[in-house]
């Protein structure tokens, strides 16, 4: 008789998968860059794949690993389609921000307006002073003359 609880690492691996999944959820909900939202969805997929492989080890068969193989295939297809869609959206509005598409929201929801001003871009360090092109620095006159 093999009690499944004999495998000590299962719950730890499931917890790591859950942490990755929830971090991906937070990023997907909070980030406004379309590419980052998609990468966060991929992060959730990684958490799920980790669960599959952990269960595969725990059950002692390869079904979980087979599932992850299909999961990788679907993720690759999904990445290609998402990239094409994001490119089309970017060409339309000139920005990756999802909030420019908020006219697609439901009627009952209010429009989100950004009230806080964006921080100023970091000040660039002043360029080192260089001599004007074409005018070399003054050279000491050569002493020897022919």
């Amino acid at each position: 008789m093999i009690p499944p609880s004999d495998y000590p690492g299962l719950s730890q691996h499931l917890l790591v998968g859950a942490v990755l999944f929830c971090l991906g959820l937070v990023g997907f909900l909070a980030r406004r860059n379309m590419i980052l939202a998609f990468l966060n969805a991929e992060l959730m997929v990684q958490g799920v794949a980790l669960n599959f492989v952990a269960f595969s080890r725990y059950r002692g068969n390869l079904e979980g690993q087979s599932f992850v193989l299909f999961l990788l295939t679907v993720a690759a297809c999904e990445a290609a389609i998402a990239m094409a869609l994001i490119l089309v959206l970017y060409k339309n509005r000139g920005t990756l921000d999802v909030s420019v598409w908020q006219e697609l929201r439901e009627d009952s929801l209010d429009a989100v307006e950004d009230t806080d001003p964006l921080p100023l871009p970091a000040a660039q360090a002043p360029m080192p002073p260089l001599p004007t092109a074409g005018l070399g620095p003054q050279q000491p006159e050569e002493l020897s003359r022919v």
Partner: protein, 291 residues
């Protein structure tokens, strides 16, 4: 012994898995609400979620140092708790290192304002999970994960980011949408999942515990699996991972393999059709525009 012959349907039939449709009982009875120790994990998860909230990009700028302190503390506590109750082993140490790398990369991915840095930190997540795949006896998947994600997906996304990147702060990278509610949602979901996986009173607990031992495997499964135990008494999986994985896929999921191929072709065609300039397809329309 056929490595992949146990399917979920048979397990359900033989009473190994809990039947679907039973009422889900979730309660803090047995002194849970009155017991502060039982609520400690909830507090820890919510504190980590608050640290994540401080780290999410916002134009106001918050105490990011405090956020880093909380999140790193929570990560260290989580990784240290993985070693609880087990003797030290190299496997455990590797598992801790890879888990920490994956979670740290995930935190950077969620909180970095610079999209290129965030995409690169996703590589760290992929490397961490691939390392965990290795410790779980899945070397082929570890390699495939690195090749497909780090090698293909990240690089293509960095390429698109380069095309669309704007200098300095922008609406898309320096602002978050409802960061507080988002991190609260993630924290609560994480607490519920963690409680389900490890909880003491939950009869859906996967790993079992004292008051509610994990379900016993049916006799047929145990008989098939006896003689496949490794040195630590766990179920062994074949060392020839790739060969057995290929045999498993073609034996049990042949139609799935064919469908995956079809899906890849369709996705390729669809990506080309979606991304190309549509004006080139309609010469009549574009000539009207010229006229």
């Amino acid at each position: 012994m056929d490595p992949g012959s146990i399917c979920a349907g048979e397990l359900l039939k033989e009473g190994f898995m809990p039947p679907i449709g039973q009422p889900f009982s979730f309660s803090f009875a047995e002194g849970g609400m009155n017991n502060p120790v039982a609520l400690l994990p909830l507090g820890a998860v919510l504190a980590a979620a608050f640290g994540l909230f401080l780290l999410l990009p916002s134009p106001k700028g918050g105490p990011r140092f405090l956020g880093y302190l909380i999140v790193i503390g929570a990560l260290v506590a989580f990784v240290a708790s993985m070693a609880r109750g087990t003797a030290f082993s190299i496997e455990l140490l590797l598992q801790q290192i890879f888990s920490a790398a994956a979670i740290l990369g995930a935190v950077f991915l969620v909180t970095q304002a610079n999209p290129a840095r965030a995409a690169l930190s996703f590589t760290l997540v992929v490397l961490g999970t691939s390392g965990l795949f290795l410790t779980l006896g899945a070397p082929f998947l570890a390699a495939a994960n690195v090749i497909v994600y780090a090698g293909a997906i990240i690089v293509t996304f960095l390429f698109v980011l380069m095309l669309a990147q704007q200098d300095g702060p922008s609406d898309s990278s320096s602002r978050s949408r409802d960061p507080f509610m988002a991190s609260l949602t993630g924290g609560l979901l994480l607490f519920v999942i963690a409680h389900t996986v490890t909880g003491d009173r939950d009869r859906f607990s996967v790993v079992g515990n004292q008051s509610n031992p994990a379900p016993v495997m049916p006799a047929r499964v145990v008989e098939e699996q006896s003689g496949r135990l490794d040195a630590t008494g766990r179920l062994a999986i074949p060392a020839e991972n790739t060969a057995f994985l290929g045999a498993d896929i073609y034996r049990h999921f042949l139609i799935g393999v064919e469908l995956a191929g079809v899906l890849l072709v369709v996705a390729t065609v669809a990506a080309i059709v979606i991304a190309q300039r549509h004006t080139a397809n309609f010469p009549a329309e574009s000539s009207e525009v010229k006229a």
